[in-house]
Symmetry: C2
Subunit: 170 residues, 2 copies
DNA sequence: CTTGGAATGTCAACAAGACTGACGTATGCT
DNA sequence: AGCATACGTCAGTCTTGTTGACATTCCAAG
């Protein structure tokens, strides 16, 4: 399908010709890499009664302590029912604390307990280790490119959420 | 946690210092980008009775026509039972054809029918469109870096499968 | 040649985690 | 007072992953 019409990776002034083949390789790279990306935390979680959904919740609560349920919902892109199931078990197990908002009492602000922080550390240590290796292997210029492509691949709202998170740190 | 110990992105000779913060940004970029990556095909599939698993199967059957079930299993990284359910519906619906192996009659060789090819086209057109935009936005150097980091992030066996696929194409 | 083990694939049952829809409660705002 | 918002929950469904059990086929050792 659509074979050899454009020269592979040909670059003419500012225009970049991308063959279906190059794009497909990008797609497959994304697929295989994502598997590696989630593999280590998944292994840890499998031993406990938790799954990837718990990891995501814990990650973003750690990232933005005091965030509201609604906030988390938007970041994670799931329904409140789905998030609630996960959140409930985390609260029951004492990993997450839910505090009623001071200004707006309808809101619940979410925090990790010490135990929750410990799990987050364990999970993100594993994930960061892989990311660190990949970054080192590929080198700083590749890392910059990696990030640029990923940002361009996000939906607009997600790019917004991403940059907002990125900037609220430090 | 581990704040501001190393200067951000500091680079000293060949050694690259990576802060937890930089790594976490990479992790989040990966998370948000993957959502975008799957969003378009998912939207198409939602209208039909199919899901992401069907997309993956169709993609790799198209990529390597005549592949066996076992082969596909290894690439997709799921159990044979899980793949079988998906495959069965695809075969029933006439999108995939399963031919008993000539040399080894235990094996089933998988092919897309015309209808199957049509669906694959539709799905990958959508996914390629996003990838093309991202690649164009980011530029060729960024694309090279993107691929290098992703490859470094894969599990070893997946990197092997990836490069083998990559090379079997013209 | 037969027999037993390994490989391949199918069927059945179950669990996690997503979804929709409906509803209840507390709170905030006009 | 009345409507909107934020959150929680119950019930039911769907996709997609899992194990376990089983049938078929191949191959190699006796």
């Amino acid at each position: 399908m659509a074979e050899g019409q454009a020269p592979a990776g040909y670059r003419n002034e500012n225009l970049l010709f991308l063959t279906d083949e190059q794009l497909r390789q990008g797609i497959e790279a994304m697929f295989f890499a994502y598997r590696g990306f989630t593999a280590d935390p998944d292994r840890i979680l499998a031993d406990m009664a938790y799954g990837r959904a718990h990891h995501r919740a814990v990650h973003f609560i750690n990232r933005a302590p005091g965030t509201t349920v609604n906030n988390l919902l938007n970041i994670l892109g799931v329904t409140k029912q789905s998030l609630n199931r996960v959140l409930r078990t985390l609260i029951e197990d004492g990993l997450v604390e839910s505090r009623i908002g001071k200004a707006d009492k309808r809101e619940r602000h979410l925090f990790l307990t010490e135990e929750g922080k410990a799990l987050e550390q364990k999970l993100s240590d594993a994930q960061r280790a892989r990311m660190r290796m990949a970054f080192r292997d590929a080198g700083p210029d590749a890392v910059a490119g990696f990030r640029r492509v990923l940002e361009a691949m996000m939906d607009k709202e997600m790019r917004f959420a991403y940059t907002r998170l990125k900037d609220t740190t430090t």
